[in-house]
Symmetry: C2
Subunit: 229 residues, 2 copies
């Protein structure tokens, strides 16, 4: 390596992850009770520091894996927070990621060992530092993403019912949707496979299960869902 930019300041770079999950009713986030100073014992997002030899994505994956035991979690970087005193201990810039995880599909013991807990969005506690601000921004980003491309399947089990999907979107967008309009809209996207099986747990009649069709989705390149001018 060439000799560096000596005169410049170096700072700590943290990665904080907003982990969203869904329990068929509410949108939830995973928080940990912090076990070191400062702010020991307070609720916090899951985070860690960027190492010299990894990218931010690497760091986020590492942090998510350490807590949940799961690899290949859907995640997306969304903002760098940099108030000078945001961490009272030392100047730290934090790059935030949001992640979507199937709430059934992670290592419960790991999470318990980390003093982690799922909270409904509406019941989230006060968090350390600027983490509430991060959370608010993450929710807005998730809402936009969900309106723009059919994200969110990551939050459901592999097979799911229309009603589950609708409830998920209602939870993300924080408003009620009309059942028929929702189904028509989803069907018009033509990215789900309707299975022959039914889920019998939610009603006597049972409701058909669907799978997300990644192949069809990729073919359609659903990237331009924006309001067109």
């Amino acid at each position: 390596m060439l000799n560096g930019y000596n005169a410049e300041d170096k700072v700590l770079v943290a990665v904080d992850c907003i982990i969203f999950g869904f329990d068929n009713e509410d949108l939830k986030i995973l928080l940990i009770k912090r076990d070191f100073e400062p702010e020991k014992g307070k609720w916090s997002l899951i985070g860690g520091f960027l190492k010299n030899q990894e990218t931010l994505d690497d760091a986020a994956s590492r942090i998510l894996h350490r807590l949940t035991g799961v690899h290949n979690i859907y995640m997306e970087q969304f903002y760098a927070f940099s108030e000078v005193d945001r961490d009272p201990k030392e100047r730290t810039v934090s790059v935030s990621y949001f992640a979507l995880i199937n709430i059934e599909n992670h290592n419960k013991e790991l999470i318990e060992n980390y003093n982690a807990k799922w909270f409904s969005l509406s019941k989230a506690p006060k968090l350390i530092f600027d983490h509430n601000e991060m959370l608010a921004k993450a929710i807005r980003r998730l809402q936009r993403r969900a309106s723009i491309k059919p994200i969110g399947f990551e939050l459901l089990p592999e097979k799911f019912t229309m009603r589950q999907l609708q409830k998920l979107y209602e939870a993300i967008l924080n408003k009620d949707l009309d059942k028929r309009n929702f189904i028509n809209k989803i069907n018009s996207l033509d990215i789900l496979i309707k299975l022959k099986e039914k889920d019998m747990t939610s009603s006597t009649k049972g409701s058909f299960l669907y799978r997300f069709d990644q192949k069809k989705y990729d073919e359609k390149l659903m990237d331009n869902f924006y309001l067109k001018l």
Copy 2:
């Protein structure tokens, strides 16, 4: 200050700015010819390093002001780039901002002193490091922003004609728009003030000038322009 997180790695944090301008024909970006190693003499985005006692927004403002002489430039943080070897000299994480500037409204001498130059997007040269990737991402972000809220007035003089505005949107979205539909759409937003004056430079008939009405815009809280489900 409490004593720090000693075991953690610190890195350099850079801020790189994609500065968009508009000359009534093309969307342009401002680039500088780099006058220090590595990659001396190559074209580059405008950047600098984050200092210990400033936020990322502060750093971006400082960098933009130093180059253009202008304060209060519209800017928006959009992504942190962190490939380990993106800067061969030293490990650097770069947080990118895009900025919109009225191309007439900056200090031309300053820009010349910095070896800076406006390039049409279609004629942008190869840039150092990962700056082409940053540029591509900035363009996509700008396009989305322009579809979502009436950004872009920042790129025009205070008084402008409908035709100028249309050309700007055509340049941003990189496609032709229908004159009548465009005007109807803009008028339906009801955020412009039609002035009595005409601009006589572009035609014999002259065309009416408009101003952006910040107050009306704020009242309307035009934040939910997204595809609704």
